[in-house]
Symmetry: C2
Subunit: 199 residues, 2 copies
């Protein structure tokens, strides 16, 4: 029984892994069930044993799992980092670039709306809870300590996520020898010189 349960969840995890990679890379509409099956080396119909509720539900589960993963990771690296804002932001961007950041804007504005308008709203909430709030908390704490001047944390967090995406893409084109992590350290330095309170 334990073995069977393990095997089942392991197979499911493999399906979710393959689906996640494809969905996040190319978007919901342009990934077919056959594409996912091909990656797993099975026929298209076999997918419906592991994902009996179809493509739409599969996408929802992939996203929910991804967001849970991001939230756990972010909270972990934030807790482990030094209590200064710069160190915490560095730990955050290091984590983000390691996770092969996804195009959140495409997910919300293209992928999700194809499923339903209510799901688009739900996805926005998930992204907010999993990826934005943990970082917002870091900024608010720094504000409370008097480390940064008055900013809108929600705005700054979005900037950080957008810049991380760009850094990873820029690094992948690799015309310049600047790693994503080093680039994001420079971005943080640049941002802090703008938002740090000067006495």
């Amino acid at each position: 029984m334990t073995t069977e349960t393990f095997e089942i969840s392991h197979s499911r995890a493999r399906v979710l892994d393959a689906a996640e990679k494809l969905f996040m890379e190319r978007g919901y509409a342009s990934v077919t069930m056959r594409d996912i099956a091909d990656v797993l080396g099975v026929k298209q119909a076999a997918l419906y044993y592991h994902a009996p509720n179809g493509k739409e539900q599969l996408y929802r589960e992939v996203v929910a799992r991804h967001m849970a993963h991001q939230r756990e990771g972010l909270e972990k690296v934030i807790a482990a980092a030094a209590p200064e804002l710069e160190a915490q932001l560095g730990a955050i961007t290091d984590w983000l670039v390691e996770q092969a950041p996804v195009d959140l804007m495409r997910m919300v504005r293209s992928d999700a709306v194809q499923i339903s308008d209510t799901y688009a709203e739900e996805l926005i909430q998930q992204v907010d809870q999993a990826m934005m709030q943990p970082i917002i908390k870091v900024l608010r704490a720094a504000q409370a300590r008097g480390e940064v001047r008055r900013i809108i944390p929600e705005m700054v967090v979005g900037m950080l996520l957008a810049l991380t995406n760009w850094a990873v893409y820029f690094d992948s084109t690799s015309r310049f020898s600047v790693s994503s992590k080093v680039m994001m350290r420079q971005v943080i330095d640049l941002m802090l010189n703008g938002i740090i309170e000067r006495n």
Copy 2:
């Protein structure tokens, strides 16, 4: 004859307008020819009179026209702006937010690759020529004047485009009363405080 030519190009422009709006909002794969026809109030088959070469070619033409439009606009506002870097960047971001910025990363990584790998390369070149090089020239000129310290202009331009996209999206959610243009002025101020040469 002149009237007929005008009417034809006018009809074509209407088709390209509708296609551009949908393609840029939702991406290549999730926009159907029927969607475009619905916006125009005609049946799907009628589209093939104006776009006889099909969906793929329609997307290519839409993108080519959009990039030409962006290049012309950018070069115009740059030429009209004051010769200081801050004023030029402000004119650039004002222009960009007015054009309802598109998700360049989705275009390159999702839309274009569905058409062909060679088109993805072509699109990257078009984006580079139309949107990045004009702004890169501004940064290089400022570097030559000694206004900014050593940076990688290509990297900074990508940051600026990514942040502009985020600003417009953030503004559209409008939970906070910060207009895209005002927000980008603050971004520019923040970036300049990071990259300006201090003597």
